[in-house]
Amino acid sequence: MAVSFDKEGYLRVDASVLATLRLLVITSIAISLSIAAIGSRLFSVIRFESIIHEFDPWFNFRATKYLVNHTFYKFLNWFDDKTWYPLGRITGGTLYPGLMVTSAVISNLLNKLSLPVDIRNITVMLAPAFSTLTALSTYLFTYEVTSSTKTFKNNKTPALLSAAFIAIVPGYISRSVAGSYDNEAIAITLLMTTFYFWIKSVKLGSIFYASITSLFYFYMVSAWGGYVFITNMIPLHIFVLILMGRFDYKLYTSYCTWYALGTLMSMQIPFVRFSPIKSNDHISSFGVFGLLQLVIFANYFKTILSPKLFNNFMIAFGTIILSLGLIFLIFATKFGWIAPWTGRFYSLWDTNYAKVHIPIIASVSEHQPTPWSSFYFDLNYLIWCFPFGVYLCFNDLSNESIFVIIYSVLGSYFAGVMIRLMLTLAPIVCVCGSLTIGKLIQIYLDIKLYLKEKNEKKEDYNNKENITNLSNLISKLLIILTMIFYLFFYVQHCIWVNSNAYSSPSVVLASKNRDGSAAIIDDFREAYYWLRMNTEEDSKVMAWWDYGYQIGGMADRTTFVDNNTWNNTHIATVGKAMSVNETNSEIVMRKLGVDYVLVIFGGLLGYSGDDLNKFLWMIRISEGIWPEEVNERSFFTDKGEYRIDELATDSMKDSLMYKMSYYKFGEMFQNRDPVDRVRQQRLSSKYANEIHLDILEEVFTSENWLVRIYKLKEEDNFGRSLVEIGDKERSEEGKSKRSKRLQTKKRPNLDLRV
């Protein structure tokens, strides 16, 4: 009998039944976590539709479609002539193919199983699907960390908690909602899996696990540029361990296997190619690799020589090696054998660097430093459980704990530098938070201990003890209830954040009708689809680079610049065309071969992310290349204000961007004064009606004026400049209007005479 009552009336359960039960419980927990993870990412699909979000995912989606429709080799050799006109982009060699290959493999697999699911749905659902895997790998990671510690030996609580936390933590969800088909969607899963196998291989000193680590590292390299984080985390871990005097052959085995295999594998990715041996991002991993060779060599001497001898030997040895290494580094950088320190690298250390030197990096909102509030917003109360979890790791300084500590420190720093790197911090916060909560549960919610005490109490009953026990119980209860409250609150907060902040596709905007019912503002797709339907297939559309991927993905038209900001000069050229006056802009646009110009204008709707608000970045970027022609200062009034009404500076009023935004804006308001609802400025009706545009013709404006599309007019047959013609027409129009007015005045007289 598996379950029975013994003589004393206690319930006895067979061990195998208990094991099965345990497995069942854990499986059901895993399934519920998966449901929670997927479910909380589906807000946008339910509220809107199964659609690709934001900007970069549109490129990934387009690339995936290319991969699915062509062969893998064609994909790797893909030269895209529909972007960066007229330069084109060697797309196959400048992307991380991991994401696309993943979805293509899934798609093919499903096809083989005769489930021809639309590739769009696969790409939309990829991030939620991988989030469940992230929960699993975080569970394994935490379990690996905790299982070796004294406090949590054979205790799965922290592991399960960490899986639960990561499943719904907003910091991670922000990049993995359904439709957010970005590299990060699978990269975090791979990050945690790589780390899991890494600490496992360090623990066991196993070549096998180190090889698996390098395989996942390879997958990570193929998927996200952030693989550099792993490339530096692992050597740092080893380095710290060596400094702590913890060197043993396990470190050597795992690290060298990982490094040798991982580096060679990462070089298989065309975009990475030789950077592991040339770029400075990888120098630390190489350095530690060399160091380990020396250390194992030295370690051999250590076993042979006396401590004193060894010490002197080491000093001599170390000096030589260090100086040699430094000299090599300096020379290599000087001769250009290894890449110079890149801008993004500097901006990691000096948050102000980008703003001053590379406006194009600074112009991206996700590259801004993180505000304090967003730590709480993205991690909720885990953020204050986090330090305690790190402290617990200090208490239990195993190799794995040291890894967690290093990750925490690095992750916190990077998350503070760039808002997007909050993503890499989130997993470790979940792990540390789970350690904290796990500890609390262990102390205050240990039923076994309680039962034991109760048993003992039966035997010697003491009144005094009872009181202390009672107070003890109350304090325990208090803490437990608080903790449970916070857990509930965490879930509530996460769902709230996911639903309100991170589930907007940003292609489709939600709004409300006057009666309060939900409405959808679909201007972007309206305009992109208009482009797709009603322009020549080879027409070139000029827009600010933010919209490049979307135009490529939805409108299927050639763009000049896009979100793959590889050519700053080209972007500056587009910026210049937008920020100079019509005559000069026409010259630039004709040279570029522009057919259509697309601007985003939120003034009517109150959409603050429009081009006029990004205008300063266009000016700054083009000023970096053409300081004589574009000057940021001249777009501000004497008082230093950014004005767009009648008091705006002449540069502003003349600029193409300004004119494209407000062209015919006055007509909408008929005789009232038009108001720009984003910048809260009022243009007078007379002034607004005078805004004219000669080189461009309005061909489309979306329903809420969010997107306006202009066509560059044909050159005049008689060689006159378009601006001249426009001026002439306007002056004639003015005259005819006057004469018309005279006529209408005359008419009554005529009538009287008849």
């Binding site: 043993d248 085995t253 060779q293």
Partner: protein, 151 residues
């Protein structure tokens, strides 16, 4: 709490250190040389220590066939790597990926073999050897793929 910390560390290190030294200690328990180093010069001291190490190494080699095999292989790999590197410097690095895969094969195989060497006196070297083969296959699969890729 601080005391506890130290305890933890000690405990770990006590556990771990024997494992570290095992491969080298196996047959070298008595040979640690005790020298009076204060009088002799730096250079002499250094050469002496190298000498002692060499003697010990030869002893180790003589005692194990497995070590001899591994070390010969290591020497071969090292020479092969040096030759390739020299060729790269003298004869030019083009095509670079071919050089890299050749050189990478030497370095990669070298560190894997060293990893095998340090594990070869472990509890179960068969596991280590199996893993070594797995990793080597992986390495060479990657390298063969890399060799002919145009940069």
């Amino acid at each position: 709490m601080a005391r506890k910390d130290v305890k933890g560390v000690k405990k770990v290190s006590v556990k771990e250190i024997p494992a570290v030294e095992k491969p080298f200690n196996k047959s070298t328990t008595t040979t640690t040389t005790t020298t009076t180093s204060s009088k002799i010069s730096w250079y002499e001291e250094l050469s002496k220590s190298i000498d002692t190490a060499l003697i010990q190494y030869k002893k180790d080699l003589a005692s194990s066939r497995r070590l001899r095999l591994i070390d010969t292989f290591l020497a071969f790999l090292m020479i092969s790597g040096i030759v390739q590197f020299a060729f790269c410097i003298l004869g030019g690095s083009n095509p670079f990926n071919t050089f890299l895969s050749g050189f990478g094969a030497c370095v990669g195989q070298f560190v894997l073999t060293v990893a095998l060497r340090v594990q070869s006196f472990d509890k179960n070297p068969e596991i280590a050897f199996g893993e070594y083969i797995f990793a080597s296959l992986l390495l060479h699969f990657v390298l063969v793929h890399f060799m002919n890729q145009l940069a």
